[in-house]
Symmetry: C2
Subunit: 346 residues, 2 copies
């Protein structure tokens, strides 16, 4: 096949140029020698402009997410693995089993092909580890100064098992609020990496695909009301969204919210509140009180839910306030994120 191209793609010291987005021979080579080589699956290899497949019975779920994180490579991951985990998680938060991914790349002219290959290899590893292949894609190139290296928009589809009805508007007074682990790790890892800070304990992004954790949770308690991953805006903003969607209030116990001590210390140093810092491998679950213990048990039995905790409850409040009982016995309102705390965190 490679007789078509005069030389192999130079992934050692070559760079993206405008021809890689032209639709012509250079783009065909980039797709064949880089994308198809790494993602390596039959659907992609068909080389049609779309992927076709059969789906199991059930409601279908679709979610899309652009990734513009800076820096591209950070402790615990990179834009490639993040773009796979982020979209798998958005699909999984409906209770669905994620099945296929599509990836749209917007590359900046001059972006090193070595970095592109590193990103694509990382995406491929993340997709393969999760069992959710990238089956179709698209590449565009913009002139130098009109982009920032690489942006990746991933779209995922999945299928919800029958009987599962997870939605942000289903929280009811008396329900329990659970979180799958420590908060703030992703945002603090990115900020430390940007500011070149080092701490005694290395802080890594928690970036991870949560769909197998969700599957275990759905099996333990099919009546789960809400699931959501607290990414941009953190726990605080995500709980405010859920409170608003469901028309309820929430009451949190500060002392029960798990935060890694190194993240706590870094947040103090950086002037951040861990409740507003992005996570990429955590979920919030709201469930009826009878499901709380079985769910915590299922979560703690999964590697990504070891530090799962019950952090509060849903209360009646038509204003949708999220309140928190602080460590000192006082109470404060936990509002939406107002400004921009951490730009380009995902």
């Amino acid at each position: 096949m490679n007789e078509r191209f005069s030389a192999r793609l130079n992934t050692r010291d070559g760079a993206v140029d405008m021809t890689h987005g032209s639709g012509g021979r250079a783009m065909a080579q980039l797709i064949e020698e880089l994308f198809v080589a790494h993602f390596d699956n039959d659907l992609l290899r068909q080389a049609n402009d779309q992927a076709a497949f059969d789906l199991p019975a059930g409601r279908v779920v679709m979610s899309t997410d652009g990734h513009v994180i800076s820096p591209l490579f950070f402790p615990g991951g990179d834009i490639g693995s993040l773009s796979v985990h982020g979209t798998i998680n958005d699909v999984a938060m409906s209770g669905a089993r994620p099945l296929y991914l599509a990836a749209g790349f917007i590359l900046e002219e001059g972006f090193p092909l070595a970095d592109l290959e590193r990103v694509v290899a990382s995406m491929a590893r993340a997709a393969s580890a999760a069992g959710v292949p990238v089956v179709t894609g698209d590449t565009k190139v913009v002139e130098q100064g009109k982009g920032d290296g690489i942006f990746i928009t991933t779209t995922g589809i999945g299928v919800v098992p029958n009987g599962v009805e997870v939605s942000g508007d289903r929280a009811r007074p008396g329900d329990v609020v659970l979180v799958s682990g420590t908060l703030g790790d992703h945002g603090v890892a990115i900020m430390s990496s940007r500011e070149n800070l080092t701490f005694e304990t290395a802080i890594e992004s928690d970036s991870a695909a949560l769909h197998t954790l969700v599957a275990d949770m759905v099996a333990a308690a099919p009546g789960i009301r809400c699931l959501r991953d607290p990414t941009r805006g953190g726990l605080a903003t995500t709980l405010n969204e859920l409170a608003r969607q469901s028309g309820v209030g929430m009451k949190l116990m500060e002392r029960d919210i798990p935060v890694n001590p190194a993240v706590s210390a870094a947040c103090e140093l950086l002037g951040l509140d861990p409740l507003y810092v992005a996570n990429e491998g955590k979920l919030i679950c709201i469930c009826g009180p009878e499901d709380a213990e079985p769910l915590l048990e299922a979560m703690r039995a999964h590697p990504l839910g070891r530090a799962a905790a019950r952090i509060g409850e849903v209360v009646e409040d038509r204003h949708g306030f999220v309140q928190m009982e602080t460590g000192f016995g006082g109470s404060r309102v936990v509002d939406w994120l107002a400004g921009e705390q951490l730009p380009r965190i995902c």
Copy 2:
């Protein structure tokens, strides 16, 4: 609901700022007052991070496409309508009926909210006219100088009717090559708009959603072998892709290839070959000889296929060459697009 925001989004002279991508209150307002207001459908209004729906029986098709066109507004369309048409067409080229769209926006800080609203309103009109709603989305913001106003990645899903098997690897010697209309309109409209050229006859992009044309064609001849829209790289590159996928050659008749005379003239002026210029509302169809007439009839009966023509045939050729009998009776090889003819054409 709007008690949450101190004032309405200023879509008259406001601009995108970093808070619109923060995940917090400003992003919630942008989503509610701009995206949800225009796209206006129940799935989007649920405000979950994903859309859930039932699909009719059949093979499911997914396709994704990034849009980085410059300029954003051009004769015959804009990045918004293009991003809807382009993805609907990629889904439809499998013979599928497109059903739902997801849209990922990457906005540059400082982009006027008035332009954003104009783009989103245009997307919404295109989606509504096509009957394919935008049901989920995502917004990211990058700093000034790290993007170019707006990039839109749309992903579509659809379902292939039973019995339809369209794929780029199904062309066989003896098959007929059809095209749905004149070539080069989109690329020449964009180039003229960039170069500020005016012609006696206005040249407009052919940007259009082709799914109803495809549905009519599939009904007329369910055995259609290949469908593809000749976007980047034009007719020449698309036929080379199909020839390579199917392991066949093609023989075109130059005099049968429809080109709008104004486009022909503009191509001469701009030094372009219409066979390599992008189209956004045309399709190539390869079919068995017995299906050619019924298909041409169905195409010509549809507003987007009036100028449909038979332009060549599939021949045996293990090298996958596309050859063309020229107007002067000679013959030349129509190769892949080699360099970059028209950057950022879609």
